[in-house]
Symmetry: C2
């Protein structure tokens, strides 16, 4: 790869380590970009993965977004956006990626989050939010579209080594339900017996004494996740949390 031309030097490079001070130097009022936070919230509706979209500037669908309040932590800002715009109080939410967009003079650093909600949450009750299926295609901006696609990829990967599927389920659920979530997100069929065995082997599930009676067939036992919270968090640090 070419060693990034030494020409264009918009930021002072002499300072080995001056603290960030974007208002110093040149005459411009700010060299600092805008900062916006966007959340990609998934849930499952009718066996399809759907994402929450609001309506953007000209009514075009776009990811719910906002900017952090003064000195507000990013995680808190993301949760606030989820609460105010989608109506979700507290669900799985994880930072995804940060990048900058800056073609048209609107220079913005975008911090993205992925979230998951289950059917117990009031999906559908937020005004201005529509939940749209990922297949065959989500119509939105190019950038939002790539963010959503990346979020889905990460979700898929993470399903392999965590139990975040928990967040897509109601408190009690059948094995069939659990399996269908994996099948939907991984987009491949799974063997019923192997799935059941492996999941039981983890010891994360607890069989309740209730059953699900629906349809003219044998009722299914309802399970729930054992209340050990060592799911989810894996590599993501707990920084930037809950600074009131």
């Amino acid at each position: 790869m070419p060693p990034a031309a030494p020409s264009r030097r918009l930021a002072p490079s002499k300072e080995i380590d001056s603290g960030p001070d974007p208002f110093a130097g040149d005459g411009r009022s700010h060299t600092s970009p805008a900062v916006d936070v966007r959340v990609v919230f998934f849930t499952l509706v009718g066996g399809r993965l759907v994402v929450a979209l609001g309506s953007g500037e000209e009514g075009a669908p776009s990811l719910p977004r906002g900017w952090p309040a003064a000195e507000e932590s990013l995680d808190v800002a993301a949760r606030r956006i989820a609460r105010d715009q989608i109506g979700l109080t507290d669900r799985y939410l994880e930072q995804l990626y940060t990048f900058s967009v800056g073609d048209d003079g609107e220079w913005t650093v975008v911090i993205t989050y992925v979230g998951l909600v289950g059917p117990d949450a009031p999906v559908g009750s937020a005004p201005g939010i529509t939940w749209v299926p990922l297949h065959p295609r989500v119509v939105c901006s190019e950038i939002d579209s790539r963010v959503i696609e990346y979020a889905r990829t990460r979700l898929q990967a993470k399903l392999g080594y965590t139990t975040i599927a928990l967040y897509l389920l109601p408190a009690a659920f059948t094995f069939r339900h659990l399996q269908s979530i994996y099948e939907t997100i991984l987009d491949q069929p799974l063997d019923k017996r192997n799935f059941r065995r492996r999941f039981l082997a983890t010891g994360m599930l607890e069989r309740t004494d209730q059953v699900s009676r629906e349809g003219s067939h044998r009722p299914a036992a309802l399970y729930r996740f054992r209340p050990t919270d060592d799911h989810e968090r894996y590599l993501t640090p707990a920084w930037d949390e809950e600074r009131p």
Copy 2:
């Protein structure tokens, strides 16, 4: 979990989806935080993992940092910082995490990167940069210290399912050398035969016809990585790349 008190409303919450416009609303000149980019560069020196530190505001050691130039992409900014401050032109570099710090009125969004350099790079030639071992402790700010620790954790994890060790090695290396890198970073001894077999099984290595003669014992064959670049990149997208 408590549903995040509805009190504190520092940012306007009425807007369902106004685009980011940090200069709107209140009378303050900017609600937008400063943005700074910090890089955590690791290498191995004498079998120890070391990190590149510059000297910060009051001469205290701190991670090399800077802020992105106007409309400069974050990845490009991180590479520029690595080049200008540490003297590394092009090495492994990956986004780590973004968080905000904002206690003292200095409100800053910090985007962190992890990088790796091998012994072929001019480590030690950059003025103002010192490479300090991670053990027993790195003396620097609390925040930088946590960033470094998280970077190390991620590096460890990633060593398991990628071949980023490649970036810590010279072009040709012995099996012992390769293994010692894994042992250093994972901080555990590995079985010589199993290690060799598994690594050979991946087909990523190529035996050269050269040997390493050092010490009064049998010379070791030198290997190199086969030039297939499907190492490293796994989940991290290629956004935000090389926008000149």
